[in-house]
């Protein structure tokens, strides 16, 4: 799967897609692949504050729980209501239907600190090499 060029990416494998100060956040294809079949998602309520680097959600497979870290500061506007009954969307469409939350960013410029698609692809190539070493 190719990584959308308009997204930004974190080292913890979250993606964020921003237009102005509104953004959507999810986890990347690499992350869902590592996690395995998603069975449950715990999402924050609308209005919850997001602090960069702090967990705001979790995604569970059968054998593991992945904490999801906020890529930037902001506030949750909407959590993906379709996810609880269809957690597998995170596996089948992690960059689209598998989105986690929509947020209002406190400072869109913070996203400049994050990786772009090319940098993220290089990053996960490194990770794959480390794993098979």
């Amino acid at each position: 799967m190719s990584y959308p060029t308009q997204f930004r990416y974190t080292k913890d494998h979250e993606w964020i897609d921003a237009t102005g100060d509104l953004a959507t956040i999810g986890i990347t294809d690499y992350a869902q692949h590592e996690l395995g079949d998603v069975v449950f998602v715990e999402l924050p309520a609308a209005g919850t504050a997001l602090t960069t680097g702090k967990t705001f959600a979790s995604v569970e497979s059968v054998k593991a729980v992945s904490e999801i870290y906020a890529p930037a500061n902001g506030q949750v506007i909407e959590a993906n209501a379709a996810l609880p009954s269809k957690p597998e969307s995170i596996n089948t469409d992690p960059h689209g239907a598998g989105w986690l939350v929509k947020v209002k960013l406190s400072n869109p410029a913070e996203l400049n600190e994050l990786m772009d698609a090319k940098a993220y692809e290089d990053y996960i190539e490194e990770k794959k090499k480390e794993a098979s070493a």
Partner: protein
């Protein structure tokens, strides 16, 4: 595969349904003696509380059907009675049958915890002797037999530590836990009201002394250490570790799950441990029974004795035993009615059978683990090369090159007639194979196991798909755990038709 298997597998093809599916109104399996007093009017006695229709959909079957149902179910299980159960840190040793016999004796199984103490001297003597034996084995000063399992023992230990610190004016905030620790350790620390701070192990899989020195301060209540570690390796610097902790007023807690490597050889009390728990369902042979019951006694140094859970067993003049409830500094009770007495009886029976010879069991356990390690070294990757004690941890690194991981190898081991070893633990070894044979395995059984593992390693090279899709010979193959977690079905309901018929 036939020339590689030296042991027949045993898997029946019964497709026994649920007990509810065999049920039919009017069948009974148990009769009571006739009522010898006037029959009550339940409606009069219980009024609106009367459950008029009884328990809906409760099974109605005959005695033979109960016997057959559960007998058939039992044949779907692997068990220690069938062969080696190499689960790391579980200590799956022989569960002596005399233990079952004595636990069921009239006068042992029948006693009520509230009956007068003068009519319970037999029970109290059993508890006292067990206490003395466990103190001798651990080298500690005081002990409680109340906790129902290892995890509850851990909680009791941490509550004792908290009470101790509280008495000294500062309950402290943190507990340090190595990243190789069993999951109950951090879970317990949180329940005890402490923050967990993880300590990374060094390159030898041991506690990093430099890191420890840096992290220990007056906010640290204790370090929770498993020894030998979950890698099966003895923490050589345990006296230094104790020293560093004690210098800052912190305590050393030892998770005694791996006591099977130490009993009769060394005593944790002499190594600087302040408080520890034991798992009687591990080292002391009480049966696992499919997941419990266990017992988790906690042994401690004198400084922690004032905080023991109530009641405390005391010996009075004339050899009479009593339960002392008058303990002002006690942490309270962690479980009603005392410990799991039936489990404690079994553990004492085990200790009495061995006596001082318990050392031999430890020696055999360590011999078996090292024997298996020697045979499989080079075939499976050994990430930590320090000497193993009662268990050895390999990794799947070599087999991973062909896409075969530890879970696949474990599942293929089932086809060879063994229960898998512990996969994916400890966390510091990715793709771990944690193997603990215990002293209950003969050389023959160890050789069977080694043969099977060597065969699977060869299969991982030559025919990896066979391993990745194992097991092949069981009645049930790999189960859909994802569906089970996404849409949990946790009980039978009457409208369910009998599904999954014989295949």
């Amino acid at each position: 595969m036939n020339d590689r298997i030296k042991k027949a597998t045993r898997h029946t093809n019964q497709n026994e349904g649920l007990i509810f599916e065999k049920s039919s109104p009017g069948k009974r399996a148990f009769d009571l003696p006739s009522l010898d007093v006037p029959a009550p009017s339940l409606h009069k006695e219980l009024g609106n509380s009367h459950r008029v229709d009884g328990v809906q959909d409760f099974p109605e079957v005959s005695e033979i059907e109960v016997i057959r149902h559960f007998t058939r179910l039992s044949t779907w299980n692997y068990a220690i009675d069938l062969g080696m159960y190499p689960l790391g840190s579980c200590t799956m040793k022989y569960n002596p049958r005399v233990n079952e016999h004595v636990a069921r004796l009239s006068g042992i199984a029948t006693e009520h915890p509230y009956q007068p103490q003068e009519l319970s001297q037999g029970c109290l003597k059993i508890l006292s002797l067990l206490e003395k034996c466990l103190l001798e084995i651990t080298g500690m000063d005081a002990i409680t037999l109340q906790p129902a399992a290892g995890a509850q023992g851990e909680l009791t230990g941490l509550l004792l530590i908290r009470a101790y610190h509280q008495k000294n004016g500062n309950p402290r905030k943190k507990v340090l836990i190595p990243d190789s620790a069993h999951g109950t350790n951090p879970a317990t620390a949180v329940i005890a009201g402490y923050e967990v701070e993880n300590i990374k192990s060094n390159a030898d899989g041991q506690v990093d002394i430099a890191v420890l020195r840096e992290k220990v301060n007056e906010d640290v209540a204790a370090l929770m250490l498993t020894n030998p570690s979950t890698l099966g390796i003895f923490e050589q610097q345990i006296p230094e570790i104790a020293g560093i902790l004690h210098a800052k007023g912190a305590l050393l807690y030892m998770d005694g799950a791996n006591m099977n490597a130490l009993a009769g050889i060394t005593r944790p009390g002499e190594l600087g441990v302040d408080v520890m728990h034991l798992n009687l369902h591990k080292t002391f042979s009480t049966p696992h029974g499919g997941g419990g019951p266990g017992a988790g006694p906690v042994a401690m140094k004198k400084a922690l004795e004032p905080f023991l859970p109530v009641p405390v067993l005391v010996e009075r003049v004339g050899g009479r035993f009593a339960l002392d409830f008058n303990r002002k500094e006690s942490i309270g009770k962690v479980k009603a009615f005392g410990g799991n007495f039936g489990v404690l009886v079994r553990a004492l029976a085990y200790i009495l059978a061995y006596g001082p010879g318990i050392r031999q069991a430890t020696e055999d356990a360590v011999t078996n683990a090292n024997y298996i390690r020697k045979q499989l070294e080079g075939i499976f990757d050994l990430p930590y090369t320090r000497p193993s004690m009662h268990e050895v941890v390999f990794s799947d690194a070599i087999q991973k090159r062909n896409g075969v991981n530890t879970m696949d190898i474990a599942k293929r081991l089932i086809d060879y007639g063994f229960h898998p070893y512990t996969t994916a633990f400890p966390l510091i070894v990715p793709g771990a194979l944690m193997i603990e044979p215990t002293e209950s395995e003969s050389k023959e059984e160890c050789d069977f196991f080694v043969d099977a593992m060597k065969s699977i390693a060869a299969e991982a090279e030559e025919t990896p798909e066979l391993v990745k899709t194992a097991p092949h010979t069981t009645r049930i193959r790999r189960l859909d755990e994802v569906a089970a977690a996404r849409k949990p079905v946790l009980r039978w309901k009457p409208e369910q038709k009998k599904s999954g018929a014989a295949g």
